[in-house]
Amino acid sequence: MEIHNELILIKNIIQGMQKAKKIVQIYPKNNPVYIKTLKDLSDQFNEFFQHSNLLQLHIAKNDILYDSESVYHDPEKHDNLALLFFKDGLRELTFKKGLTCKETEDFIKIIALDFERDIVEEDIVILFWEKDFDNIQYVVENSFLSEADDFEKEALNELQQEASGPDTLKEVYDEIFSEEDDDEKQEVILDITDKDLRLLLEELNNYALDKTEKYFNMLFELLSEAGKDHDYQDIINYFMAAISFSVKNGNLGAVTDVQEKLKQMIDDERTDEEIRKCAAKLLSFTGGYSIIELIGNMLNSGQEIEEKAFKRFFSLLEKDAILPFIKILGELKAMQARRLVIEALVYLGQKDISSIYSKLNDSKWYVVRNIVYILRKIGDIKTVPYLLKPLGHEDIRVRKEVIGTLGKLGGDKAVAALLECLKDPDMQVRKAALSALGNTGSAAAKKIIMEQISGRPFKEKSFDEKKLYFEALSRWKDEDVYAFLVKILAKKSFFITSKDYDNKACAAYGLGLIGRKEAVPLLNEYREISNKLLRNLHMLRFRG
């Protein structure tokens, strides 16, 4: 290939590197732009390798050279690819034919790192080294490591002062050879066998496993000995850092193991009092704001969380975890994440329901709704008075949640509150209240519904709303309700209006919902009646 064309290809490759570096910084791995950019770069390399086996680049401060020709020049400090390599000591970079897409990607991912940030403890050379590329080689200049020149000189001087060999070796020579070596010569088998290699492989595979458990075990040992040095606070800090680290890395299993051990320590009366205090402090830390917020971040980031481990985690927490969990509830985006946190709060709320009540006045409507739902799941009837305030919440979704909860909790106070809701101007509220009254299953609720149906104003309600009343009533499948419905259906009158037909139709509907066989003949009587609506309705229920 002509040198001119070759240089163009190389310049394209370097431009491709720069572009890929930026793209990798911006886009996630599965983004089409990310994929395409890296593929383009790989194609550029491959095009070059059709004509040559090696691409050897020399790195200067502001230039990248190929065969003494500059193929990249940038005098600026910012975003200077040559400088990026140069400052870490890279002086030559060679790409070999056979360079894989994976290697190209790994290479770009390394150069795309933000090396200015403190958290990157490695430089480019270390990261290249760790990757141990097959087809990327480099030459490094390590002079900046050689601040030790003086140290080396001093050490060598020190060594030279040591005399070597006695002048009188000849005098002791015979003695050397006459002395027996009193050490027993032992036969040792040192051949490395296949079995040894199998064991070694196991060891190396195990190495990849997380060391967190071992690390925590070490901390527990330090804690058990902490009294001697009065260094409880240090050990507590180490634990806290390790717990945070584990949560950040999604290792809730390790944290729950720690929680269990801490609980055992607290419960064991033989444990030293100071250590028990430390254990209690740490257990409380696992449910504190910082840890729960980390869990929130994890859930929000879409990182997978093992449900079983999460359940174990919150089951080991104390009531002080309630408020931190409620805090993240307001920040979570995904439904699944909210579900998990709600589950935790349902469990923890049973330990201290008043902490849950305290958040019924949260400014976010959805938090209030979630809190109400949590209270419903906890199912404590004492909750009812606390629900009266959110029953008047400005957001209908909250009100409906409260109504549903009142229905679930039941009791006279709940029924009374629901009766009031039946007067609400919003149909959705009334509908929810009816359903809730039905759900209470209480005699008082039944009585209220029957009184409402029998009352004069009932006639004026819409057919749909009437139907809801009968639907709610049909939850009680007892004799009272049956007789009540039969009576309405069988009621005769000289002046039957369409509103009367509404009631009859709804009663038939209710009977259908109750599903008693003895109602069949009565329902059949109305099969042929003229009111189409009634007929349709009762046929519908009958079939059901």
Binding site: N53, L145, E152, K214, E221
Partner: protein, 466 residues
């Protein structure tokens, strides 16, 4: 020559190397006409011929402690460890440096190769014997292993620089930790990579440098030595680069807790009292604290803290600190424990007249194998340093004194020796002789009859190893 291979061909390269080792090993055990040998040979021929179509030439070469296939280094991983070691050992024994396959080969070519290989043992000049035997087979070319003595001086210089960089850097870090200053781990990691690079290129030279024990600042040199020995051992065990860097870093910090031991206790030129000893036994715990104070928690910090905590425990937990819940010691802790004990035993200490000679230290370690030290790791360690580690002063049956200069992997009890006194007791400098050398009667020219410690005769190892 092809410079590089794609992934598929790289896989075939490893297969070819393995197969080469398999048929040579099988042929050593069975007769050459044995079906297992024939099958292994045939497979090798098929693999080579398949690849030669694509690569045109196959070059198998030894560089340092590595095998290269068409200029690509074959990765040192446990699956291939046994066969790679075997080939390197056997080729070095015969002094084969390179095998070049120029075109397709036949089973007959390989049969001749095997026959020559098996008989080369009996020859005074095994490589020449093999080359002569193969001279009619044009598709296979053999080249002798390169003599590295010419650039040995430069290599030593580079290794020495790497070594002192490591010690100096550790000293710097140690002092910064002591004064609560921030330390530069990037630099430490770079130094570890250069140490690993040296170990890969010239393991024996660097190991030789670690045997020099005449420095006053024991702690710094000891920590650097333990790091070098641990990394060298890790490499022998087939660890990847990432693991080696981690191992190098954590082993460097294993004794950081000694910062808190009072100087007069640490350097007491006599036996420690019980209370002093109990102070010393705290250093693993103090090490953990120093490490955790030094940097925020990440996997490397965890590893370093664990190693600092466990390196004196022993695998049966008979050491210190004593713990309540005994689990298996971490792999790195078990490695560092061996390197630490070995280096400490052979080091000059204020409370001993002479340090232990390396071979005696090794023997003592082997007595602890299985109880206190991990037997598998120790086996790799002994294979690395040899039964007579570098720097051991040996007395030969030829009435010469010598220093162990380099190990013979294929015969651990017959290392290469630098002769330092002739049979009349006159100091001489060199030559380096191979204890595998035989005399005309099939006996060995020289054999070790006993070992002594160089300090006993004021022999300054630095003169020979730096």
């Amino acid at each position: 020559m092809a410079y590089s291979m794609d992934i598929e061909n790289a896989g075939k390269a490893v297969e070819i190397i393995n197969q080469l080792a398999i048929f040579l090993r099988t042929a050593r055990i069975h007769n050459i006409s044995n079906s297992a040998v024939i099958a292994a040979t045939d497979k090798f021929v098929d693999l080579v011929n398949e690849l030669i179509d694509l690569e045109h030439t196959i070059v198998i070469e030894i560089r340092g402690e590595y095998l290269y296939f068409n200029a690509n280094r074959i990765r040192y991983c446990p699956e291939h460890l046994l066969n790679l070691d075997y080939l390197i050992r056997e080729f070095k024994k015969i002094e084969i440096g390179t095998i070049i396959i120029h075109s397709k080969i036949s089973p007959e070519h390989i049969r001749i190769f095997i026959e020559l290989f098996l008989k080369s043992d009996q020859s005074e000049a095994p490589f020449e014997y093999m080359r002569k035997g193969m001279s009619g087979i044009f598709c296979i070319e053999l080249k002798k292993i390169q003599d590295i003595s010419e650039d040995n001086f430069d290599r030593k210089k580079i290794a020495r620089k790497t070594y002192f960089n490591a010690v100096s850097s550790y000293k710097d870090m140690f002092q910064k930790v002591r004064s609560d200053e921030k330390i530069n781990l990037k630099k430490a990691k770079r130094i570890i990579t250069s140490v690993i690079g040296q170990i890969i290129e010239q393991e024996q030279i660097l190991l030789g440098i670690t045997t020099i024990k005449d420095y006053d600042e024991y702690t710094y040199y000891h920590s650097a030595n333990v790091s070098i020995l641990s990394v060298a051992l890790g490499r022998r065990m087939g660890m990847n680069h990432k693991m080696l860097i981690d191992l190098g870093m954590v082993s460097l910090f294993h004794d950081l807790g000694k910062i808190k031991i009072p100087y007069e206790v640490l350097n007491k030129p006599a036996k420690l009292s019980e209370s002093e000893w109990s102070i010393v036994k705290n250093h693993p715990k103090w090490g953990v604290k120093s490490i955790l104070k030094m940097r925020s928690l990440d996997p490397l910090t965890m590893n370093a803290a664990l190693v600092a905590f466990e390196h004196h425990m022993n695998i049966d937990h008979s050491g210190y600190p004593q713990i309540k819940h005994r689990g298996e010691l971490d792999l790195f802790s078990r490695i560092v424990s061996i390197a630490d004990q070995y280096d400490a035993m052979i080091s000059k200490r204020v409370y001993t007249k002479y340090p232990m000679s390396p071979d005696k230290a090794l023997r003592e370690l082997m007595e602890k194998s299985g109880d206190k030290l991990d037997s598998l790791i120790l086996k790799f360690f002994v294979n690395m340093v040899g039964l007579y580690p570098i720097g051991t002063l040996v007395v030969l049956n030829s009435r010469e004194l010598g220093l162990v200069y380099e190990n013979n992997q294929e015969a651990l009890h017959r290392p290469r020796i630098m002769i330092i006194s002739d049979n009349n007791g006159n100091w001489i400098s060199g030559p380096v002789v191979d204890l595998k050398e035989k005399n005309g009667n099939s006996g060995y020219l020289r054999t070790i009859i006993k070992t002594m410690h160089p300090k006993q005769y004021n022999i300054n190892l630095a003169e020979y190893f730096l």
